[in-house]
């Protein structure tokens, strides 16, 4: 249990997907424009990430690797994550027809999210077992969600700030992300 927890914490904080490994930066930046939006994307990404990495592990271990098809790994991973996203979104749309209006943006941000594919590749490359794989992807999803939501709230605050004209918008957002990344570097060695 302790090991499981430590893997989760390590993946969430120490090896944070966005701020330390720089994966899923597109989704991180474009989904954080509004807090509501970021909550939706964070939840979706977390769900897709965990499912996809599990499926990808099974795919790699029982199909690709025995059949010597490892060169197809990337394409397969993209296909898997894309189809999971479509399925989840389809299900969500039937459940909550109103709340998820911008579904197709979500599809692009979640389905094409390099974080989802990246974590699968990292997991398979490091040869993690099933439990470790689950722990790692849960931690990564948590870390991604936390950073995304907190950054969206931060951006809301920055919207009211008197930022000098040349630094308005993406410039100051990226500077802030840089400072936060510095802060996450400080967590190194925690686990």
């Amino acid at each position: 249990m302790t090991e499981f927890l430590s893997i989760v914490i390590a993946a969430a904080v120490v090896n944070n997907l966005v701020l330390v490994q720089f994966l899923g930066v597109t989704a991180f930046y474009s989904a954080s424009s509004r807090l509501q939006n970021s909550l939706e994307i964070a939840l979706l990404t977390a769900a897709v990430l965990v499912t996809a990495s599990l499926l990808n592990l099974l795919l790699t271990n029982y199909v690709l690797s025995p059949l010597d098809l490892m060169f197809l790994q990337l394409i397969c991973f993209v296909a898997v994550s894309g189809s999971i996203t479509v399925l989840i979104l389809h299900w969500l749309r039937e459940k909550f027809p109103v709340s998820l209006r911008r579904l197709h943006l979500h599809l692009l941000l979640v389905g094409g999210n390099s974080a989802v594919i990246g974590i699968s590749i990292i997991n398979t490359r490091n040869g993690l077992g099933l439990i470790e794989n689950i722990a790692n992807s849960i931690g990564a999803a948590l870390g991604f969600a936390l950073v995304l939501i907190a950054f969206a709230a931060l951006r809301q605050r920055l919207d009211t700030a008197d930022v000098p004209q040349p630094f308005r918008g993406p410039a100051i957002h990226l500077i802030s992300a840089g400072i936060i990344a510095m802060c996450f570097l400080g967590f190194a060695g925690l686990v």
């Binding site: 907190a150 605050r157 000098p164 802060c183 400080g186």
Partner: protein, 363 residues
């Protein structure tokens, strides 16, 4: 009579804590006991640090205000640059060269403060941004504390407040003053760990605990109880700020309580890891100044009462976690920046219930 019509209220509180410039001066005043204690125990280095950083801070602030086309004099009068300089000056190890101080304060004032639009707009604590940048860029300098009582100077005993000590401090700060560089490089090769907590982390025993066991005299300079006294002095200053109601109770109390609980939970007698005692965690490092002076910076901290409590808890956990399990030695800066990062989110979810509404506001 008047021709202009003012909006109500027609009067303003005359109390000194109800003026931004004075608030900043009170914060500086509340730091004085801690600074005095440090100077008493460790010599001129810290004082010199603070002085140099403050001068740089004010200069940079003036330049940035000029660039932003703001009235320089009125904005300098809010004294916020002084406080940033003071906190950074205290955080950086004494005996650091001037260029290190300049780099830190430059990042703090220019990037972390004025790129966001100046006072009140920055989401991150400028001083801690500067400190973290230095810590990541110059790790050796930032963990090297040159103190006159170092073992390095064991052969030539002199008082920390003596003229010789001042000379050494000046030479360390401005290497050009030393004339030939050989002597200085000699100093830089040797280093001493600063806080007892760090000593404990590396060596398994702390000077504070040793001093406690030995019943050493409290205010003697060689007694190695310095850190304890310094922390108590900062605690005193912090309590003064609380008394003046310049800072709220939520942040310091929740930080201290969290650290206390964490250290009680994880304490292992005689363990080789750095699960030090509660006393060591509270008074053996920079906890007090962090809890009362750095984390309470109102601009970057959470601003709702509930948010402040959670903010303090986050910082407390981060401080303890990094200290005990992390690879960095001083955790205040990282923890505070992490707290700052979370603050807008906490504020969003901890808004108080408005009079006449049955639920909390939400979006």
């Amino acid at each position: 009579m008047k021709t202009e019509v003012y909006c109500s209220p027609q009067q303003h509180s005359q109390l000194s804590q109800h003026s931004t410039g004075r608030i900043m001066l009170w914060v500086i005043a509340a730091c004085l006991p801690g600074i005095a204690a440090s100077t008493w125990f460790f010599g001129w280095g810290l004082l010199l640090n603070i002085l140099v950083v403050m001068v740089f801070a004010v200069l940079l602030e003036a330049v940035m205000l000029k660039l932003a086309d703001k009235p320089v004099k009125t904005h300098l009068a809010d004294n916020s640059a002084l406080v940033t300089g003071l906190i950074l000056g205290i955080a950086i190890p004494p005996g650091s060269p001037w260029w290190l101080l300049f780099t830190g304060i430059c990042f703090a004032i220019v990037v972390a403060k004025h790129l966001y639009g100046g006072l009140g707009q920055n989401p991150f604590n400028p001083a801690m941004c500067g400190y973290l940048l230095l810590l990541l860029s110059f790790p050796l300098n930032m963990t090297t504390w040159h103190l006159p009582t170092d073992t390095l100077f064991a052969d030539q005993q002199f008082s920390p407040l003596s003229w010789t000590s001042l000379q050494y401090s000046l030479q360390l700060c401005f290497p050009a003053l030393a004339g030939d560089g050989s002597q200085i490089s000699e100093y830089i090769d040797g280093f001493a760990m600063a806080t007892p907590l760090i000593e404990y982390k590396l060596a398994g025993n702390s000077t504070v605990l040793a001093a406690l066991e030995n019943n050493s005299p409290l205010f003697a300079r060689a007694s190695e109880t310095g850190w304890e006294i310094i922390n108590f002095s900062f605690l005193l200053g912090g309590l003064f700020l609380l008394f003046k109601k310049i800072i709220g109770w939520q942040i310091p109390v929740s930080i201290i309580v969290t650290i206390t609980i964490m250290s009680l939970l994880f304490y292992e007698q005689g363990s080789t890891a750095v699960y030090g005692t509660t006393y060591l965690h509270l008074f053996g490092s920079a906890t007090m100044i962090g809890a009362f002076f750095i984390a309470t910076d109102p601009v970057s901290a959470a601003t709702t009462p509930g948010g402040r409590v959670v903010y303090g808890i986050f910082i407390g956990i981060a401080i303890y976690g990094i200290r005990v399990w992390g690879s960095y030695l001083d955790s205040i800066a990282i923890a505070v920046l992490f707290g700052n990062f979370c603050a807008p989110l906490l504020d969003h979810f901890c808004r108080p219930r408005i009079y006449g509404h049955s639920t909390r506001p939400s979006q």
